[in-house]
Subunit: 236 residues, 2 copies
Amino acid sequence: MRGTLHLLPVGLGEADASLWLPAAAREQMAKLDCFIVENAKTARAWLKQIGTSHALPDITMNVISRKTDERTLMQWLEPLTQGVDIGVMSEAGCPAVADPGARVVACAHRIGAVVRPWTGPSSLLLGLMASGLDGQRFVFHGYAPIKPAERASRLRQWEQQSARQQQTQILIETPYRNVAMWQALIDTLRDDTRLCVARSLTTPQEWVRTLTVAQWRQKPPPELDRHPTVFLFQTA
Amino acid sequence: MRGTLHLLPVGLGEADASLWLPAAAREQMAKLDCFIVENAKTARAWLKQIGTSHALPDITMNVISRKTDERTLMQWLEPLTQGVDIGVMSEAGCPAVADPGARVVACAHRIGAVVRPWTGPSSLLLGLMASGLDGQRFVFHGYAPIKPAERASRLRQWEQQSARQQQTQILIETPYRNVAMWQALIDTLRDDTRLCVARSLTTPQEWVRTLTVAQWRQKPPPELDRHPTVFLFQTA
């Protein structure tokens, strides 16, 4: 009997867990004593907070980075073949979406383990819901290029793609570059393209607004500096 | 003071709400007495189940379809301008993703209402997490064409896009056509493309498997008939 790889959500910021964590996911976390995580310190603090049923020093906590090689991942997943369940937790939100957790999941499939995704907060999905933009067809690009000329050209390319495929475009930026990204969007996109800014989702600083680019230009810039933000846009 | 438009999740199938519903979202649902929903009957049954604090006949339940015009939507949102909160619920999962709810949200932004997305189950996101495919860049296409030749050509086009942009491709199908879609994927995609089948997520019938197309061809077809399924693939 193979163990199960549980993909467990963590919060997106300072927000009470009752806002975003289903009770059964919390119970599942509290039961496990073997994890693969992005940051051991925050993972231990979180397990302590939800009330793990194990002594913290007895919990195995393997820390994954982009550099962790496949052989190491396979060793960490070895307990699955003996029927031990393992939890995967990201630094924020749902594991294996925009983080190195996907490689852990891929290895688990190779050894035929059961993979169980638990419901939790995803800034991409919450942003899409709250944007009012088309949720029938959408694309997540990750990060845009940093160099201004390259970035503008890529944004124009994505805008054309939005028009051609009637598709919502989703991107993120490193929080300290949010203001520059907002400016680039405002300077580059067409007047009638709808742009959504979804800031600090699930937290008390949550703020979501969708306006046309022309409308955004007439307003003072939103406060985005160092707040996790998702940008979404769709052509008229 | 404007009211808030609450985007509230419902379940993906027969699954206990503790598995997928945060407690605060449940409390928010129970408080509201004005809704915009895809199906009034299932919405009323659900409110009854979670224990609404209102008498069912006192709850306003406006039913949206793809044909609902914008003037009607604006009338339904009128209470927001008087400070009344409104809930939006889909037939399954998160509202405004792959359903008509996005138009309600767009109207709410036009009148400057606060839009609040609540964490809940999305088969697209849960499928992506559990697939082990790249979550750093992905696209959701909705449905593929139904006619076999057109469908095969589109799948090949998406496969090329996956290779070119290192992007996970996500699609859904009407449940009674799942078996045909699985066959089309197996017949059309390259041997080494990884294909994930994510069935009946969050329910007791949940089943997720990622294999290369060559590996899938050597197995008996999975049981997908009439089970909600998400298909995901990525080239090697």
